[in-house]
Structures are given as C-alpha cells and as structure tokens.
C-alpha cells in the first residue's frame, strides 16, 4: 500500500480543514451576533444622538436579518471580495493585506529565532538533565514565560530603547521601508515574542526526549556504545517529533493570532490590533474576515502538525 494511505489521509485532512473553515466562519458570525451593542452605537460612541444612530443603522443595513447579511458576505469572500468595513467604509482587503503581511513578517522573524533556539536548548537540557545547565536553562525560560507579555515588552523597551538608546521603541513599519530598517524596527517585539514562546517549546522538547530515552531501543543504542549526544540526535529526536511538533505549532499559531499586547506596546501595525479595534466597533464583516484568516492559520498549522506526526511515526506510516 506504501504511500497511498498517507496521501489519502492527507487529502482527507485538507477537505476536513475546508469544512472546518466554514464551520468556524459560522461560529464567529454567531459569536459577533451575540455580542452586546451594535456597530452603529459603537461607531458614534458616547456622543451619539438617537437620531444619528438610527440614520447610521439604516445606512449600514443593520436592520436586515442576520442570515442574509451572513450569506451576502460569504458570497463575497468566495469571489475574493472581503467587503467594506462598516465603520470607516474602507475596502477590507486593501486595509487588511499590509497588516497581514506585517503580522506574518513579525511572526516569521520571531519563529526563525525561537523554534531552533527552543529545540536546541531543550536538547541540551535533556542531554545534561538535572545538571546545572539544565536547571539554568529551565529556570530562565520559565521565568520569561511566567511574566506577563507587557512586562517583558516594557522591560525590553526600557533597556534597549530608553536607557541604552540602541533600538527604536516604536516599531511602526510602512511601505517602502528598507529591509534592514524593518528588521531593526521589529527587533524588540520579535525578542519579546521569542521570550514569551521559548519556554513552552523548550520544556516540551526536553520532556519528550526524556520520555523516549526510557525506551528499550535507546538502551540498545547505549549498549552499542553511542555517545549521549549521538543517541539523542539519531534515536531519540526522530521518535519524539510528534509532541514537539504539536507544541511548536501551537506556539506558531500564537505568534500569528495572539500578539495583540505586543503589537499595542510596540505600536506595530499588525492584525491583532486591527481585530481588536473592529471588535470594539462591532464591525462584523471585518471581524469575520480577520477571524476567518486566523481560523485558516490555525487549521492550516494543525494540518501540518498532523501530517508531520503521521510521517514521523514509522508505525503509523506502515500501518499493519
């Protein structure tokens, strides 16, 4: 049967993923419907008159039934039109695209540093388990993770921007910025994010490796006279991939979806802030669009994790 079942499995996952996306969009829509308040009063805020509210509500078509608005929007998305933001009448796709690029850029930079670093640190910690190196690595990573994000952000900002003056505290990036400037601008938020996600991945790597190290075949490898590092590299790591990949994916998704706080602190024009602003304004089409993109990121990454887990497990690969 060879690779066929694997391919079928993967195809199945992708189909399911698309189905899930629809389900997610519906759930997000229902969620935004339950939310108290409506877009009209949120746009006008405390300074709205009842008359102005009614006028705006009519104009925005909020007096139409919810399901009609939902299907209108869904139809638009399928034809590549994300619609117009209710709150400022701007085309959603146009304003969303640069922000999505920014978010992905920041997430990628943070991931390029954080993932290898976390896995290497985890392997080192596992190699010298319970020793001083292990303790130090674990302790530092844990304290970084246990601090609220804004705390880490502020401390970095204070040291590198205010006290030392090496890096800008404001990470505003815009079109036409040179790549080097861009990297400099996001140095601080990327560092903060790295610190936030590091410990989780590192701890899981260490634990998964140690778990595998108890297996009989590791003992065999040891008896063969392989060194500790070699055993980890050649025998333990490939077999510990599944849990590591799962945690890595969770954190990658977090880098895309959960970075609102860091974006606000460093004034970075990403998706998180965009979503929060529009949730606060009850701007349903935008919340839907962003929610859908986030859902797609999550589902896509999980898909990848599942596929890697399948491919990495020899027994699953050659199911008896």
């Amino acid at each position: 049967m060879g690779g066929h079942p694997v391919i079928r499995l993967i195809a199945q996952r992708i189909a399911l993923g698309i189905l899930l996306l629809f389900a997610a969009s519906l759930l997000i829509f229902l969620g935004t419907e339950i939310l108290p308040g409506d877009v009209a009063s949120s746009i006008l805020g405390q300074a709205a008159t009842p008359q102005a509210l009614e006028n705006l509500r009519n104009e925005l078509g909020l007096n139409e039934p919810a399901y009609i608005r939902y299907f209108q929007w869904l139809g638009g998305v399928l034809t590549g039109d994300l619609g117009t933001a209710l709150s400022n009448r701007m085309d959603i796709a146009t304003s969303l695209w640069p922000r999505l690029k920014n978010t992905l850029f920041l997430a990628t930079c943070a991931a390029i540093v954080a993932v290898p670093l976390a896995i290497i640190l985890g392997l080192v910690a596992a190699r010298y388990k319970n020793g001083l190196v292990d303790r130090t690595i674990s302790g530092l990573a844990l304290s970084a993770t246990s601090l609220p994000e804004f705390f880490i952000g502020y401390v970095l900002m204070y040291f590198f921007a205010v006290y030392l003056g090496w890096l800008p505290s404001v990470s505003t990036v815009h079109e036409g910025m040179a790549f080097g400037d861009r990297l400099r601008a996001i140095a601080l938020p990327a560092t903060a994010l790295t610190l936030v996600v590091l410990a989780h991945m590192m701890r899981m790597t260490r634990a998964a490796i140690l778990n595998v190290m108890q297996s009989a075949y590791i003992e065999t490898a040891e008896l063969k006279g392989l060194s500790g590092s070699e055993i980890i590299r050649r025998h333990a790591l490939p077999n510990a991939i599944a849990p590591i990949v799962n945690v890595v994916v969770l954190n990658l998704a977090y880098l895309v979806v959960g970075v609102v706080v860091i974006e606000v602190i460093f004034v970075y024009p990403g998706m998180g802030q965009y979503l929060v602003d529009h949730v606060a304004r009850r701007d349903v089409p935008v919340v839907q669009a962003v929610g859908l993109i986030f859902a797609a990121v999550y589902i896509g990454l999980n898909l990848i994790a599942d596929v890697i887990s399948i491919l990495a497990n020899p027994r699953l690969r050659h199911r008896r």
Partner: protein
C-alpha cells in the same frame, strides 16, 4: 523530615516556596499585616518598616495584597489547570484509542474551538455568562483543555501502536484498561511537563480576563492583575509592579521544579531508568 532529606535540592526549594505561598494564602487573614483592600497611605510609597513592601497604585499595603491575591491566583489557576488536564487528557486518549470517526469528530471539534480567536471567545462568554468564580474556572479549564487534548492525543497515538499496547489489545483488555493502565503511565512525562506550564498560563490568562472585565472583581485581585494595575510603574522600577511579577515567576519556577521531581519519581516507580 526523613522524607524531606530524600528530596533533591532543587525540588526542595520548589516545595518550600510552593508550600509557603499556599500556606500564606490559606492563612491570609492571620498572616497579612493589613486588610487587603484598605487604603492606608500614599500611592507607590517605597518599602518602609510600616509597609514592608511599600504601597500599591491606590495606597494599599502591597504585602497584604500579595498575600490575599495569592489566594485567588493559586486557587483559581490550580482548579482550572486540573480541570483542563482531566478533561483534555481523557478525551485525547479516548480519541487516540478509538481512532476512526470518533477521533475525527473530536479532533475537528477541538480544532474548531481553537481556531476561533480567544479574544472573540472571551468576549462572547463574558457577555452571556455572569462573572463568578466557578464560571471563571469552567471557562478557563475548558478553553485550556483543547490545548491539552491535542498534546495528549498526539502522545497517545504514538503509544497506541506500541507493542505492549497491541499485546494488551490481543489479551482482550477493555478500552478503559488500555487508556488508564497502558497509555496514561507512558504519557505522563510530557503531560506533567505541560502541566507546570499550563498552570503558569492559567495565572496569566486570569490576569488577562481581569483586565477584560471578567475575572476577579475588585477590590480583590490576582497577581497578574496586580502587575497590570501597576504597569505604568514598571519602566520606573516601582516595587508595586515588580514584586507581584516576581511572585508569579517564583511560583512558576517552584511549581515546575516540583513537577520535574514528581516526574522523576513516577518514572522511577515505573521501573524506568533512574537518575544514575
């Protein structure tokens, strides 16, 4: 005492700090020098003999508030973590063992839950349910259990195809046996490692919820909430912002030290290779 002597140094420190914090939280009314919510002095006063750790953003004694805050923080976070683990791991193992459409349905449902940004989730829940502590624990536990589910399922799928599980299946053991007697012991290591971290995330999540309006109601506070209330002081090195953060970090490290130790003890019990 004999028991304590067998505990390795790191774990002992972890244990002492954790136990001290838990005890202080339980005995708060007797240990705290002042009531937790009484306004006593000026804002952000430095440490003095009167206020051992200084005062907070409203002129309340920081030490007393920290002690009372420990109550809510430790209680809610540990309950939520426990719930997340029981729910997440049992469902995850079940999915792995049953496989097929059971696995598919459960996994996709969890994917669905996870794919929706937590912010929208929290806002919706917050607008529908009253903000009481049991509900808080429930919400945090359920949201977190999706993360535990994914991990435990991934681990269990690997174990499920191991020879000893196959052997058990051939012996005709029931699924309950396989989940609890074959998979659970062998999945403990990554799960316990996750447990320690999930606990910290629960502490942080709680503070985020407090900020959104769900979460602990004033004048009570949790540690994360205290850091948040005093956050403008962080860059100016104000103790009221730094000390609660330090407390969370200390708790996080201690709990994880203890978790590591428990992990090692269980692997010992299992007859695995010890530390030697």
């Amino acid at each position: 005492m004999a028991f304590l002597r067998r505990v390795p140094f790191g774990a002992a420190i972890g244990l002492v700090i954790t136990v001290t914090m838990v005890l202080a939280a339980i005995l708060a009314p007797w240990v705290a020098p002042y009531p937790g919510s009484q306004v006593l002095g000026g804002v952000w006063e430095p440490a003095s003999s009167q206020y051992l750790l200084g005062t907070d953003n409203l002129g309340r004694d920081l030490l007393s508030r920290l002690i009372y805050g420990g109550r809510t923080t430790i209680f809610i976070a540990s309950m939520a973590t426990a719930l997340a683990f029981i729910l997440g791991s049992v469902l995850g193992f079940t999915a792995a063992v049953f496989g097929g459409w059971v696995d598919q349905v459960m996994s996709r449902l969890v994917d669905l839950l996870m794919s929706i940004p937590t912010l929208i989730f929290a806002l919706v829940i917050l607008s529908v349910l009253p903000s009481t502590i049991p509900i808080l624990i429930l919400v945090m536990g359920i949201l977190d259990s999706t993360r535990v589910y994914r991990l435990s399922r991934a681990v269990a799928v690997d174990i499920n195809v191991m020879d000893f599980v196959e052997a058990a299946k051939l012996r005709g053991e029931g699924r309950g046996w396989i989940i609890f007697r074959e998979i659970l012991p062998n999945a403990l290591s990554p799960l316990v490692a996750e447990l320690g971290l999930r606990f910290i995330f629960a502490v942080l999540f709680l503070s985020a919820l407090s900020f959104l309006g769900l979460g602990v109601q004033p004048p009570h506070a949790d540690w994360g909430g205290m850091v948040r209330e005093n956050r403008e002081g962080i860059v100016f090195g104000i103790a009221a912002a730094l000390i609660p953060a330090g407390a969370i970090a200390a708790l996080a490290i201690s709990v994880n030290l203890v978790a590591d130790w428990v992990l090692r003890r269980t692997t010992d019990l299992k007859g695995g290779r010890g530390d030697a």
